[in-house]
Amino acid sequence: MAVVFKRPHALRDVPMHYCPGCTHGIIHRLIAEVLDELDIEGKTIGVSPVGCTYNNYEYFNCDMQQAAHGRAPAVATGIKRVHPDKVVFTYQGDGDLAAIGTAEIVHAATRGEKITTIFVNNAIYGMTSGQMAPTTLINQVTTTTPYGRKPELHGYPIRVCELLSTLDGAVFVERVSMHDIKNIMNAKKAIKKAFQVQIAGKGFSIVEVLSTCPTNWGKSPDEALKWLKDNMIPMYPLGNFKGKDLEV
């Protein structure tokens, strides 16, 4: 009988805690599939952030370390420098990476640390219940922008891929989305390439994954995916910013 669905080995057989309809579970699965396909689970060390995915070290079968809020790229740097032959990745949300940890991500990228960052951007703080993120869209209502995000009060959304792709140390930069099957397949390709770039020793690689938060957006999973497509993608255009043609 043909196997049509199988849990990737790199994903542990435990229930995940995410809200129904949350795309973190899919992103975890894509990473695990890539670890399986590249056969690198045994030599991979992941770094968990602070945020809704703070304990995704429970979900991956590879070695994992939990980092303080925003510090995952520094922690990953420490690990990678001790084990240059291993594969090191960070998994970070928009508050973690683009607010409190801006210095760490910019400098890990500018040093060209041979690590891979999976950056999940859902334009809101999920863990602390729906506050404004650096990536919150203009006019988007959050618990700390109850009248909508106003540029004159709250500034503008930060485009992480565009920012990091100006750095020479960042060699692979791509933005993907979770809003439909085709894009999910694209996301997997990007994640795989990012890991391959690291393994080839080229430099820092990052994949920004546009993602949803049905609970804090107050939308059904379907509506949330549509909202992502209609509102986030115009602000955060999909595609490769750097390293598309890198030989790996």
Binding site: G42, D63, Q65, A68, R71, V75
Partner: protein
Amino acid sequence: MGEKLLMKGNEVIAEAALRAGCRCYFGYPITPQTEIAHYLAKKMPQVGGTFIQAESEIAAINMVYGAAGAGARVMTSSSSPGISLKQEGISYISGAELPAVIVNIVRCGPGLGGILPAQCDYFQAVKGGGHGDYKMVVLAPSSVQELYELTVEAFNIADRYRILTMIMGDGILGQMMETVEFRDEEEIIKVDKDWATTGTEMKRDHNTITSIYINPEVLEKHNQKLQAKYRKIEENEVRVETFNCDGADIIVAAYGTVARIIKNVIKMAEKEGIKVGLIRPITLWPFPVAAFEKYSEVPKAFLSVELNAGQMVEDVRLAVNGKRPVYFHGRMGGMLPTQKEILDKIKEIVKGD
């Protein structure tokens, strides 16, 4: 002993770390400890190690957290304001029980303060500057030779107990040169770090390093385990120098640079017929309580001399436990007490009965 050299304190810390097998250093420049970074920037590549000038002290301590979790012998160094920035990481490293070494060449604060010698970070180091019930072993050398010995020892203690160990000095210790004799080979304890993130190689279950415990009962158990470890360290790792204490009229408590000054004061006092003893804590935590208990029948009193407004004196009082008066003399702002002013204070106490 092996090679004898004239070296700066900061250089000796760096050299000792290398000899102790430290191959990872992460730091950010700040006076007066920067020579540690200069030395290691030059030497680390020669021994295949890693030197990173991080973007901030916060990043540096988190690189330490990552490298320690990955099983390496790792060190960072800074001075007071930089150590404040590291406190978040210090708490995480303590919570996750990782071994690492931190050097604090203390400046005089608060705020940006100044670069001259001070001991105003005593509370921060021994009572915890970061959040949570954690302890670090805090070593306070008072000579360049001791900087070498204790830096090597710091790595061994860290590995033995899976704990952070801090070397605490001041600008004088960091900047002064003295002779130092290195051993030909260090005794480096070997610890099996089977908890480290080294990659499973598909041969074992995954290792996870974390300081989060979802279940409050489990978190309490984890804390109890930490506390039990701290009690064990208090039993086994106290280091103290007692000098001239038997038959002394008065005992001075002082550590680091100040203890050096006291040794001169002891000579001056002897000429005036006063016998002064010195208890010099080498471990500030665990504090050498037993040494103070042993001499708590000293005829006159105890005097704590510090480069701050009175910090260690609290631990001296707890150790002496009311059996004798405990006096304090301190200077701040980078000022050092002169031998004469300390002697005057001693004479005032001795006469005061």
